[in-house]
Amino acid sequence: MAIIVATLLLFLAGPFVLWPLLKTPEESLPVSGRTE
């Protein structure tokens, strides 16, 4: 049961933790200044 709860919590935390990897290149365009 605790393992199921832990798995659910990890799924919930996943997007927050992995956000720097999940960001699409377009979203980082204005910051990086790249043109392609």
């Binding site: 605790a2 393992i3 709860v5 990890l10």
Partner: protein, 642 residues
Amino acid sequence: MILGYLGAGALLAGLVLGGFSALLSFFAGWRQADVFIQVGRRAFYAAAAMTAIAAVLLEVALLTHDFALAYVVEHTDLATPMALVAAGFYGGQEGSLLYWTLILGALGTASLVTAASLGGRVLAYATGILASILTFFLFVLAVVASPFDLLTITPPDGLGLNPVLRDGGMLIHPPVVLAGFAAFAIPFAFACAALMAGRTDAAWIRHTRRFALLAWSLQSAGLLLGMWWAYHVLGWGGYWSWDPVENVALMPWLATTAYLHSSQVQEKRGRLGNWNFGLVILAFLLVVLGTFIVRSGVVPSVHTFAISAIGPWFLGFLATCVVFSGALLALRIGVAESRPAEAPLVSREGAFMLQNLLLLGVIAVVLWGTILPLVSGMLGTERVVDAPYYQRAAGPIFVFALALMAVGPLLPWRRAGNATWRALRWPIATAAAVAAPLLATGWGWGAIAIGVASGGVATVVTEYARAVRRKPSVLVIKRRRYGAYLAHVGLLVVAVGIAASQFGQQEKDVTLQRGESVTVAGYTLTYTGSEQQQLADHTEYIAAMRFGDTALAPSRATYAGLGGQALTHVAISTTPLADVYVVLAGTNPDGSASLRVLVNPLVTWIWAGGVILILGVVLGNVGEREMAGELARRRIPITLPA
């Protein structure tokens, strides 16, 4: 029951996230991969959040009396007041570990969020080290000593909190001490990260200064609150018994005190870089050693409620920390020393160095006394040292450290001149004037300590007067310096209180019939009778005493349900010069009462000094960073005068 599953799940999720954060952050720091550094940091935040969720769930379980959880049963019952039920969170082994982990997560998050200026690699390694420590604690919590373990049968009521802990002190002393311990991890993590990244300038000191100060302040307050609690609850008339658990809280405090001074040398003069790394690492290792000693019960202590089987895990953690930080220091030693220029012996820097050596001397004395039973037990016969050992060995060193507090602030950073020697006349005259009459009373080292402490106060007064005479606004502009002086005054007042109560204490054991009186040190008390009260879980014997116009009621509680465990409730009457402290040893069938009466001079100075000390730290640092920024913009130098 559902709270147990949710809490255990949160701890497991935190463990996975913490381990992931540690591994990824070290890798990302090594490869200097910015995206992975960010992911590692976010994983740490998430692990800290999981710890917070687990903490909230445990508190909810306690407050709702969820007796499906073994921890709730073992540390609370339906009759316990709600404030103490809430305090049950850190009243037991597992809960106090969770509390520690919670503070580590919160402070670790705060330190990482504000650390962007240190650069990617230092940040990554600091994240990795903090996450490793967090992961260890979460592993112990999730696997070895979980506060969410469930009972197969849910009992209707719990066993309640240990009677010694059923006190207002329980609400504040343990959380402050534990938070102080947890806070030591922040300077340690950033120091090691700076070493790993080869960034051995003072940037890590500037970033972690507030955390080191926070750790030191919490530990100072924790020590004093513990002394206050022991004095008011344990009923032996003192506040410090050199118990191993007290000693292990004192040692990191001493190391951090040394570091807070020597780090100024690195900030102002660019020296003592390696020394500062060593001190911060030493402070944290002493915290881990202390945790091992408290949690394992390897040496006899009054804090036996904390004993459990997690000792070996902490021994392994201690060994890992020693090897890791020792190897790091050995590999990087020499790199940090950027300016090996020699400082004159009689200078502020020389005073700091001497103070550091004295404090390390005290640490060595206390450490030896603490681990002697362990070492001697392994070699054959177990030997234990008691208070006289510590007083003889550490007392004179403390007096020299007090003397440095009188001299150090008056010394310039560079070579001392005639003006310095002239400035010393006030503290020396004050010390001599105060110590001389006390020496005549036979107080020995106590008289010298009080005299020297008075000299220290004279030094601070001299410095404040000089500032007010020249430019009063300097007290605000250089608040860090003058706040530190106020903290000095607080510590000196504490020292006077300790010396007076140690050397001036008088006690008398008496058995009094109704109407009889006893006089101790000029204070007369009269015994007027006793009564017995039968309460829910214990029997209370109360003696009625009269002290002038004040009624005192020392009592003794016996808990039949706990094998007849007895607990004394001390009666204390505080006068401006001394505490009259009455302990009821027992009531007799003929109506008489056996009492121990003590007169403790100036004990209230210890508590008052503690308040001044914390006030000095707070006043010296509130808005200090903003002020420093403002001065930098206006190009006003904030360095101390030479």
